[in-house]
C-alpha cells in the first residue's frame, strides 16, 4: 500500500486560510470552528507562516496514549480518529509533542485532521490541497514529497520541519526562518520512546544476557537437584 504525505511550502503561502475554511465545510465542522477549533489553521507571524495541523507522525504518541482505541495509525499515512470511540480522556492532547490535537469542551471529543482519508481512498488529494490557491500545499507519495522537500530546502535555503521531528511525520513543512520563530514547537528529531529506551536492537544483547543468566541458574539448579538425589541414594 502506498504511503502518502502532505508537503507545505510556506514560501508560497499567503495566509489566506482558504484551506482552513474548506476543511470546515468538508467535514461540516462549523459549530466547533465557531468555538475557535480548527483542524488546520495558518497564522500570519511577523517572520512567516505557522500552519498548525496534525503532523500525522509515523509513530504517534497519541495512539499509544489513547485508552479507547479511538486513534489509529494507518499504513497509508494519516492518523485516523474514530470520534464514536473517543471517551474524552484528553491523553492524546497532552501526549502530542506538536500540540496539534485540540479538545472540544462542548462535544467532549478530540479535534484533529484526518488527511481527508475519505478523499485519499478515492484517489484524490485532501480538500485543503485542492483549495490552496498558490500551491503551497502539495500532496503525494511520501518518498516523492520527502525528496521534493529536501530538494526545495537545498535550492531555496529553507528549513525542513516534520521530516525527522518525533522520528518522522507524514506532514513536511518548509520555512524560510527557524520554525520555532514562527510558533512551531521544538520537537526532538528522535522519537520520544527512543530517547527514553535503548534502541531495540541494542537491547538484544541485554535480553540475551538475561536469558543466558536465567538458563544458567536453571541448569545449576538441576545439577544441584541431581547431586541431592545422588546423595540421598547413598
Amino acid at each position: 500500500m502506498r504511503e502518502y504525505a502532505i508537503l507545505y511550502d510556506s514560501t508560497y503561502c499567503t495566509g489566506c486560510n482558504t484551506c482552513s475554511y474548506r476543511c470546515i465545510q468538508e467535514f461540516r465542522d462549523h459549530e466547533q470552528a465557531a468555538r475557535g477549533l480548527f483542524k488546520t489553521f495558518v497564522q500570519i507571524h511577523d517572520h512567516g507562516m505557522y500552519d498548525k495541523r496534525c503532523m500525522h507522525c509515523k509513530d504517534p504518541q497519541c495512539v499509544g496514549a489513547c485508552t479507547s482505541g479511538a486513534l489509529t495509525k494507518s499504513e497509508y499515512g494519516p492518523v485516523l480518529f474514530d470520534s464514536a470511540k473517543c471517551t474524552g480522556d484528553k491523553h492524546c492532547v497532552s501526549s502530542c509533542p506538536f500540540h496539534a490535537i485540540q479538545f472540544d469542551e462542548v462535544a467532549k471529543k478530540a479535534v484533529k485532521c484526518s488527511m481527508c482519508a475519505h478523499k485519499v481512498s478515492e484517489g484524490k488529494a485532501p480538500v485543503c490541497i485542492a483549495a490552496c490557491p498558490s500551491g503551497a500545499l502539495q500532496f503525494g507519495e511520501y518518498s516523492a514529497m520527502a525528496a521534493r522537500a529536501n530538494e526545495l530546502a537545498t535550492s531555496g535555503k529553507l528549513k525542513v520541519y516534520g521530516l525527522k521531528e518525533n522520528g518522522g511525520t507524514n506532514v513536511i513543512m518548509l520555512t524560510k526562518e527557524d520554525p520555532a520563530l514562527l510558533g512551531y514547537p521544538t520537537v526532538s528529531k528522535k522519537h520520544l520512546r527512543a530517547q527514553l529506551l535503548p534502541d531495540a536492537f541494542a537491547a538484544l544483547p541485554l535480553v540475551a544476557g538475561a536469558v543466558y543468566t536465567g538458563l544458567k541458574k536453571l541448569s545449576e539448579r538441576r545439577s544441584d537437584v541431581a547431586l541431592e538425589d545422588t546423595d540421598s541414594k547413598d
Partner: protein
C-alpha cells in the same frame, strides 16, 4: 558446564531467537501500527456528505477577480436537508484556473446566516440612531416599494439621491427619472476608472463601461507572461486572499518568470515570499518614485519609440498658450513633420518629431506655438531625479535608477499593475497623480495592450439595457440635477464623463456625507447596498447626522446593518449566489471569454430583486422610458435580455439558457493581438491612441502631465502617525456576510486583524504594550465637524516597517444590535477620515475622490 553449555546453548539459542523475534516487534516503528489495511473500513474513510448537484456560479462581489466556480449542493449530514455545502473550482476559467477563495466559501455559508434579512421593515419611531429602537414592523416588500414611490413622487427629482453602483437597472432608472446616482464605492474605485477613461478607453466605446468592469478598473494584467513588475502598494493584505490573482502570482514564482519590486510601508507576506526586492516607503510618496522612474527612462532614452509614435499621443502637439492638445476639426491630433517643417495630422505626419520645439505654425487662421507631448513630459520631469525622489520617499536613489533601467529593459513585458486599495487608489490627494504617472510609465514601456503587460478586453461585451430595447432617441432623458448632494458638478472632469460618456462611472461618495450633513439638497435617499452601508462612507458619523432629518431613507440590504438604524424602510436583498450571472473576465482578458452562473436557490423570504424594484419605480415615475407604448403596463416593458444578446453576438449560444446548458463557458483562444484594442477604444478613433497628456486637467487648472504634489495632510508633533488602511484577506469591505460569520471572526482574531498595528519601536516610545487599549484621534484642523475618536486594541508587529505609521483594518466595528457576531467587534477606521469640503477637494484633486489614507492621527493609551 557442558550440560549447561549443551542445554543452554540450545536453549539459549531458542530463547534468543524468541527474544529476537519479539523485541523488534515492540520497538519503533512497528508499535501502535494497527494496519487499517484496506479502505472503506474506518469511519473517516466514508464520504461526509452526498452531492446532489453542482451549480456554476461567478463570484461578483468579493473582489475584482470574479472567479468562476461550481457550488456543491448536497445533503447536509446534520439535518438531512439539501443545501449549498461548499465550492469546487472550474479549471477552464482563465482567471481562477480552478481556484476559489475563503470569501467565496464564506458566501456559501452566508446563504443560511440566521441574521439574514428576509422581510421588509418599516420604522414606526421617527427618531433615528444606533441606540434608538426604530419600532420596526414588518411589511410586504411590494407594499413598502409602493409607499416609497409615493414619497418619491412628492419630491422634485433634484431632491432624490440613489446611492448605488452603476448596474444596468440603476443606470436606466436614474436617467429616466432624472436623478443623480452616487456610487458608494468611489473611495475604492473612482480614481482608477477615471484615469483609465482619460488615458485609455475614451468612453463611450465598443467595449467598456464601468458597469461591467468589476472594480471599474478597465484593463486586466498579464502576470503570466510579464517579466518585470513594479508594485506601488499593490501587495495589500487584502490581496492575500484573492485566489484569482494569487494563482497567477504563484505560477510566475514557480517558473521564475517575473521579477517583482514592491514598495509598501507594510511588509506583507507577499513581500516576504513573492518580491525580488522590497522597499519600505514613506506613505503617500510613491508618486515621487514613479516620477523618478519616468525621469530615468526619458533621460536615458529607454522608452519604446515605436509604440509611442504609433499608439500614443507622444507626438501630439500641445499649444503652449492654452495648454491644450492641438486638434483638427475632426478631433485628430497634430504632430510636427521634421521634413516638411509643418504641423500635420498625426496619423499621416511625415517623420514626426518626438521631442524638440517650440514649433510655430498656423492652423485654421490662428498662430500656434507648440511642443510634442513627450518633450513636455521630458521637461516636466527633468527635476524629478532618483536622488530627489530618495530624499522624499526614503527609497535609495540607486535602487530607483536600477529599477527604472531594469523595467525599461524588460519592456514591453513590463508593467505597473494597480488597483483600488493600493497607493494609486483613492488613498491620497495625490493618488490620481500617481495613477496618471503609472499610466505614463506603462505607455513609455509600450506594455499597454500587449502580452505580458496591460491587457484590454476585446471581442466580447455585454450591452446596456438601452442597447437591447429602449425608447426612441428622440425622447430625451430629463436633465440631471445641477446641484447634486455629492457635489459632482464641482468636478467637471469626472462629471463630464458621467453625464455624457459613461453613466455608470463612479460617483463622489467622498462628499455625499458632507452634502447630506451641510445641505438639504437630497431629501430622499435610496441605498442600494447590499452590503456596504455606512462603512463605504468615510466619516460615517457625518452621514448618520445628515440622514437624521431626511424625509425618506431606504436601504436594500441582505442584513439590517448599521445604516438601517437611520432608515425608514429596509428591504431584503438577494444573495449573490441566488442571482444569475454573466461575466466577461475583464480582470484577465487575454482571450474573449464568457462565464455564466445560475442561482443556487430561489431567493428566500420576501426578497425583491433590485431590477424588479427599479422597474416598479420606473413604471410609476417615467413609464415613457420603460414601455413600448409609454404606459405603466408591465406587460409592455422593453426587452431586457442583455445576456441573450451578449451570448448570441459571440456565437456562444442562441440565448443564455442554451449557453448555460452547454456548460456556462465560452472562450476564443486565439492568441492575443497586441495593440489591436487601442485602435478600437483609444483616443482619435479609428486609429485610437492612449494619452499621456490629459488636457481636461488643464481646463480646470491642474497639471495635464504627472507632477509632484505633497500630501493633503501634514504631520505635526501631536498628529504624527500616518494612517494606513487595509483589510483582512477574508473580509470584503464591511460586508456582514463575512464580518457576521463567527468562524471568520476567530480567523481574524487569531491573526490580530481586529487590532490596530504599530511597530514595536514606535509603541515603546509611546510607552504602549501589546494588547493595550489605545485611542486614535484625527487632527481637528482637518476633521472640523463631528470628530469621533477610535478606541482599539493594539498589536505590535514588525510588519509595520516605519515608526511614523499605524495600520488599521477596514470592515469591522459594526454597531447594529442584530448582527450578533459583528456587533462591537473591532473598531471603525472610517470614523477618522474626514469627509471632503468640495472647495478644498478640487484644489488638490480634479477627480474629487475620497483620500481615505491622507490622515495623520494621534495615539495614546485609552
Amino acid at each position: 558446564m557442558d550440560e549447561i553449555g549443551k542445554l543452554s546453548r540450545r536453549g539459549f539459542l531458542m530463547a534468543a531467537a524468541g527474544a529476537a523475534a519479539v523485541t523488534p516487534a515492540m520497538a519503533f516503528p512497528f508499535q501502535n501500527l494497527k494496519p487499517v489495511g484496506s479502505f472503506q473500513r474506518h469511519p473517516q474513510e466514508q464520504p461526509v456528505y452526498k452531492v446532489t448537484k453542482k451549480v456554476p456560479q461567478v463570484c461578483a462581489r468579493a473582489c475584482e477577480a470574479n472567479c468562476a466556480f461550481d457550488i456543491i449542493v448536497g445533503v447536509d449530514p446534520k439535518t438531512g436537508l439539501e443545501r449549498a455545502l461548499t465550492i469546487e473550482g472550474r479549471p477552464q476559467d482563465p482567471v481562477s484556473r480552478g481556484k476559489y477563495c475563503i470569501k467565496g466559501l464564506g458566501y456559501v455559508d452566508s446563504l443560511y446566516d440566521p441574521e439574514r434579512l428576509l422581510v421588509a421593515l418599516k420604522r414606526t419611531n421617527p427618531k433615528k440612531g444606533i441606540d434608538v429602537d426604530p419600532g420596526w414592523v414588518t411589511v410586504k416588500s411590494s407594499d413598502a416599494v409602493t409607499d416609497i414611490i409615493g414619497v418619491m413622487k412628492k419630491h422634485r427629482r433634484e431632491e432624490l439621491l440613489i446611492c448605488s453602483p452603476g448596474n444596468p437597472y440603476t443606470n436606466k432608472l436614474c436617467k429616466s427619472i432624472g436623478v443623480i446616482r452616487s456610487d458608494q464605492r468611489t473611495e475604492c474605485f473612482g480614481t482608477h476608472y477615471y484615469i483609465n477613461c482619460l488615458t485609455l478607453t475614451n468612453p463611450p466605446n465598443p467595449v467598456y463601461s464601468s458597469t461591467y468592469t468589476p472594480s471599474h478598473h478597465v484593463p486586466g494584467f498579464d502576470f503570466d507572461k510579464c517579466k518585470y513588475q513594479i508594485w506601488f502598494g499593490y501587495d495589500s493584505m487584502t490581496k492575500l486572499g484573492k485566489s484569482g490573482l494569487v494563482n497567477h502570482f504563484a505560477e510566475c514564482k514557480r517558473n521564475k518568470s517575473t521579477k517583482i519590486v514592491m514598495f509598501n510601508p507594510v511588509r506583507t507576506p507577499f513581500a516576504d515570499s513573492y518580491a525580488d526586492s522590497y522597499y519600505s516607503i514613506k506613505p503617500g510618496t510613491d508618486l515621487a518614485v514613479a516620477l523618478a522612474i519616468v525621469n530615468t527612462i526619458l533621460s536615458t532614452n529607454k522608452y519604446n519609440t515605436e509604440f509611442l509614435k504609433k499608439y500614443s499621443d507622444a507626438l501630439a502637439l500641445v499649444d503652449e498658450k492654452t495648454k491644450l492638445a492641438v486638434k483638427g476639426t475632426d478631433g485628430s491630433f497634430y504632430a510636427w513633420s521634421t521634413t516638411h517643417k509643418r504641423a500635420e495630422p498625426i496619423d499621416t505626419c511625415d517623420a514626426p518629431a518626438l521631442d524638440g520645439g517650440s514649433y510655430t505654425f498656423m492652423l485654421d487662421g490662428t498662430q500656434i506655438t507648440a511642443k510634442p507631448v513627450l518633450q513636455l513630459l521630458r521637461e516636466g520631469t527633468a527635476q524629478f531625479t532618483p536622488k530627489w525622489a530618495s530624499s522624499i520617499s526614503g527609497v535609495p536613489a540607486e535602487a530607483i535608477r536600477r529599477i527604472a533601467m531594469e523595467f525599461a529593459a524588460a519592456a514591453p513585458f513590463a508593467m505597473v499593475p494597480s488597483n483600488k486599495r493600493d497607493a494609486a487608489g483613492p488613498n491620497y490627494a495625490n493618488s490620481w497623480r500617481l495613477r496618471h504617472a503609472i499610466s505614463v510609465i506603462n505607455t513609455l514601456a509600450g506594455s499597454i495592450d500587449h502580452e505580458g503587460g496591460i491587457l484590454l478586453q476585446h471581442d466580447v461585451t455585454i450591452p446596456w439595457l438601452e442597447d437591447v430595447g429602449g425608447p426612441s432617441p428622440s425622447i430625451p432623458y430629463p436633465e440631471l440635477p445641477s446641484k447634486p448632494a455629492d457635489f459632482r458638478t464641482e468636478f467637471p472632469v469626472t462629471d463630464d464623463i458621467y453625464r455624457h460618456k459613461d453613466f455608470s462611472a463612479p460617483g463622489h461618495y467622498g462628499m455625499v456625507g458632507y452634502g447630506l450633513y451641510k445641505t438639504d439638497r437630497a431629501k430622499v435617499i435610496l441605498f442600494i447596498n447590499p452590503h456596504r452601508g455606512l462603512f463605504a462612507a468615510i466619516q460615517p458619523q457625518m452621514v448618520e447626522k445628515g440622514l437624521e432629518s431626511k424625509d425618506l431613507v431606504v436601504d436594500w440590504n441582505m442584513y439590517l446593518d448599521d445604516i438601517g438604524y437611520w432608515c425608514d424602510y429596509v428591504l431584503p436583498a438577494s444573495h449573490q449566489y441566488e442571482d444569475p450571472k454573466l461575466d466577461v473576465r475583464s480582470y484577465f482578458p487575454k482571450h474573449a471569454c464568457l462565464v455564466g452562473g445560475s442561482p443556487v436557490q430561489k431567493s428566500v423570504g420576501d426578497v425583491m430583486g433590485w431590477g424588479t424594484i427599479a422597474i416598479k419605480i420606473g413604471l410609476a415615475m417615467a413609464p415613457q422610458f420603460w414601455t413600448t407604448d409609454g404606459s405603466s403596463d408591465p406587460k409592455k416593458l422593453f426587452p431586457s435580455n442583455m445576456g441573450d444578446v451578449a451570448v448570441k453576438n459571440v456565437g456562444a449560444g442562441k440565448n443564455v439558457k442554451e449557453f448555460m446548458d452547454k456548460g456556462a463557458f465560452w472562450i476564443d483562444e486565439r492568441p492575443y493581438e497586441n495593440y489591436k484594442q487601442i485602435r478600437q477604444c483609444g483616443y482619435g478613433r479609428p486609429n485610437g491612441r492612449v494619452r499621456m497628456f490629459i488636457d481636461e486637467f488643464s481646463r480646470v487648472g491642474h497639471d495635464a502631465l504627472p507632477n509632484w504634489h505633497e500630501r493633503w495632510q501634514a504631520p505635526n508633533d501631536a498628529y504624527k502617525f500616518s494612517m494606513l488602511v487595509t483589510r483582512a484577506p477574508w473580509y470584503m469591505q464591511a460586508d456582514p456576510n463575512f464580518v457576521n460569520n463567527p468562524i471568520l471572526k476567530h480567523v481574524t482574531s487569531k491573526n490580530f486583524m481586529d487590532c490596530v498595528w504599530l511597530s514595536p519601536h514606535a509603541a515603546e516610545k509611546l510607552g504602549l504594550k501589546e494588547g493595550e487599549e489605545i485611542l486614535l484621534e484625527s487632527n481637528p484642523k482637518y476633521m472640523k465637524d463631528l470628530p469621533r475618536p477610535v478606541k482599539a486594541k493594539l498589536h505590535l508587529s514588525t510588519r509595520v516597517t516605519r515608526d511614523d505609521c499605524v495600520l488599521l483594518y477596514h470592515g469591522i466595528g459594526h454597531r447594529a444590535k442584530n448582527l450578533t457576531v459583528a456587533r462591537n467587534y473591532g473598531y471603525r477606521d472610517g470614523d477618522l477620515v474626514p469627509q471632503k469640503d468640495p472647495s478644498i477637494s478640487k484644489v488638490f484633486d480634479p477627480l474629487g475622490m475620497g483620500w481615505v489614507e491622507d490622515v495623520f492621527v494621534s495615539i495614546r493609551k485609552a
